[in-house]
């Protein structure tokens, strides 16, 4: 839950990538420590996949530098690739092979020693609960099963970092939760660092730290709680028989400016979960009802960027459409 520790696994410095005149990623910097779950949260077209592709050596940066496991992503591409596991946004399984055959192909391609290979395949397939289906053709698998298989495959060669690009995109909420159960369990068992991109706010909650990315720039980077605190903390609402007196008492005791709406008194505190019991015990007036609202990451995103994740997605699509129109006219 803390920032980068002694062992920095991923380090990006002013990493930047242009596609023609479009600046997809405008110089991002961050560090990820060993064992962290680090999330890139942002709408489609924000530059998440571009960043992950640069870190995985699939895309050359226009400027800036980055290291993964101490290897330079420009000059030591092969070393970087051997030391990371990758799960892409789109499925990359051979549907006409069985689960086991897919894993074995990966093991051969990454030169996993023979004596390690079979026990490792068994261990991972068991962990993602696909061991019983190992001989089944991937074609017959559900979306969630395919994802689990890809995660298992990504870990086969003992990488120290697992990169996941939108790991649960298009899966239903229940399946998403399952995938996360597996991921967190694997992280525990493998002592793994996880870097993921997501546009799901609930998914970002699983991360130790989150970088909020919008239009190619990191607009905030903190723990989920830290981000929520940064937008004014938790909201306490309560009712008493005498609201006017309660407002004065709150003002006097906590030095904040409460507001009254529909007879309910509302005010913000930094850490509502510890504040609330204390408040209820010591407040002089009899409290009739009380509630605590923690800001969501959606609130954070809205505060920081001035728009919601869904809105910016529409923007991006519109930009694309206009761009395509211009291109056609240009021809």
């Amino acid at each position: 839950m803390t920032g980068p520790t002694a062992a920095t696994v991923v380090e990006a410095r002013e990493l930047r990538r242009d596609f023609g005149r479009i600046e997809a990623v405008k110089g991002v910097s961050f560090e990820i420590g060993a064992g962290e779950v680090f999330g890139f949260l942002g709408p489609n077209g924000a530059g998440k996949t571009t960043t992950i592709n640069m870190l995985c050596t699939l895309l050359r940066p226009t400027a800036g530098s980055a290291t993964v496991n101490g290897f330079d992503v420009r000059r030591q591409r092969s070393e970087v690739r051997r030391s990371i596991g990758l799960v892409f946004q789109q499925p990359t399984l051979d549907e006409y092979l069985s689960a086991e055959q897919n894993l074995r192909f990966h093991a051969y391609a990454y030169d996993v020693p023979r004596d390690v290979r079979e026990p490792r395949i068994r261990e991972l397939l068991t962990m993602v609960e696909l061991w019983d289906r190992r001989a089944g053709s991937v074609r017959t698998f559900s979306g969630g099963m395919k994802r689990r298989l890809e995660i298992a495959r990504g870990l086969l060669h003992h990488p120290r970092v697992l990169f996941l690009d939108e790991p649960t995109l298009g899966l239903d909420p229940q399946t998403r939760r399952h995938i996360w159960d597996y991921l967190l369990r694997l992280r525990e068992a493998e002592n793994l660092t996880i870097f993921l991109t997501t546009q799901y706010l609930d998914e970002a909650e699983y991360c130790g730290r989150i970088a909020i990315i919008d239009r190619g720039e990191i607009v905030a980077l903190d723990t989920p709680d830290g981000l929520k605190r940064s937008v004014g903390g938790d909201l306490i609402t309560f009712t008493t028989a005498d609201p006017a007196k309660a407002v004065a008492d709150v003002k006097e005791r906590y030095g904040v400016e409460p507001t009254i709406r529909d007879g309910t008194i509302r005010f913000h505190v930094a850490a509502g979960d510890t504040f609330l019991p204390e408040f209820v015990r010591t407040f002089p007036d009899p409290i009739q009802s009380v509630s605590l609202h923690r800001p969501s990451l959606e609130d954070v995103f809205l505060t920081l960027t001035g728009h919601t994740i869904r809105d910016s997605e529409l923007d991006a699509r519109q930009m694309l459409l206009q761009g395509a129109g211009r291109w056609r006219m240009g021809r």
Partner: protein, 261 residues
């Protein structure tokens, strides 16, 4: 270097695995040559009669059909590349720490082995068609088919490197495959046709592959063979032509394939 070899064998291994997993492909890839052999053989056999002493139409056509089945199964290397791109598996291959040239060689070797398997099935039919088959024939056939198949799979991968959709690739292949087959002397001796057809046929590299295989089965025969500038080509010369062109195609495939991001 180790990365290239590992890439070669792991990609080839998967090609074969898929070939074995998909029984329908084995059947469908054999259907085309067999259809030609049966229908053309039955249809033209009586009309055409004998093309040279002791060589009837079926005996003449059979080696050409063998070459044709090599062509179709070799070009499948390209189908497989486009296929992988469309279904995403190509990314898994491209990010693995294996050399790009290894990937191309692996696809080519995979296709070559499937071509050899197809030829084996065709050979089983030989006695039924009255084509004589000796151990010497088979021993000569293996290297010639291998060289031809490697070169043709290079052609397939080269085209596939520029194609993103299965439909587009199929279209190009269809446009290519029919002229290649019909102008390769599979169905008629290229020395005995109108001048313009003769010129085109002799520019077609597959012609030399077909004739090399035919000479292995039927022996050298001036009236059936390929004459270039008054010289009747020998098997060795023809293999050299096919080999040289194959090297260029395969090299081109490696370069084109390595260029993609």
């Amino acid at each position: 270097m180790a990365e290239i070899w590992r890439g070669t064998w792991v990609v080839a291994y998967r090609e074969l695995l898929r070939f074995v997993n998909e029984r329908s492909r084995i059947v469908s890839s054999m259907a085309f040559p067999l259809l030609f052999l049966v229908i053309f053989g039955a249809g033209f056999g009586r009309v055409i009669g004998s093309l040279a002493p002791g060589v009837d139409f079926i005996k003449f056509m059979y080696p050409g059909i063998v070459a044709m089945s090599v062509l179709t199964s070799s070009l499948f290397a390209g189908v497989s590349v486009v296929w992988d791109r469309e279904f995403g598996f190509l990314r898994e291959i491209l990010v693995a720490p294996i050399g790009r040239s290894g990937i191309v060689l692996g696809k080519a070797i995979g296709a070559t082995i499937t071509a050899l398997l197809q030829v084996t099935i065709m050979l089983i039919l030989a006695p039924v068609l009255g084509v004589s088959l000796t151990p010497a024939t088979i021993a000569q056939l293996i290297p010639v088919v291998t060289i031809l198949a490697l070169g043709l799979s290079g052609l397939g991968i080269l085209i596939a490197s520029f194609m993103t959709s299965q439909q587009g690739f199929q279209l190009v292949i269809q446009l290519l495959i029919f002229p290649l087959i019909f102008l390769a002397g599979v169905f008629f001796p290229v020395n005995n046709v109108p001048g313009w057809l003769e010129v085109i046929s002799k520019l077609n590299p597959l012609t030399y592959g077909v004739d090399a295989i035919r000479q292995i089965f039927l022996g050298s025969n001036a009236s059936l063979g390929v004459t270039v500038l008054g010289h009747t080509m020998t098997v060795l010369e023809e293999v050299a032509v096919v080999g040289a062109l194959g090297t260029i195609l395969l090299g081109g495939a490696v370069i084109a394939f390595s260029r993609q991001e």
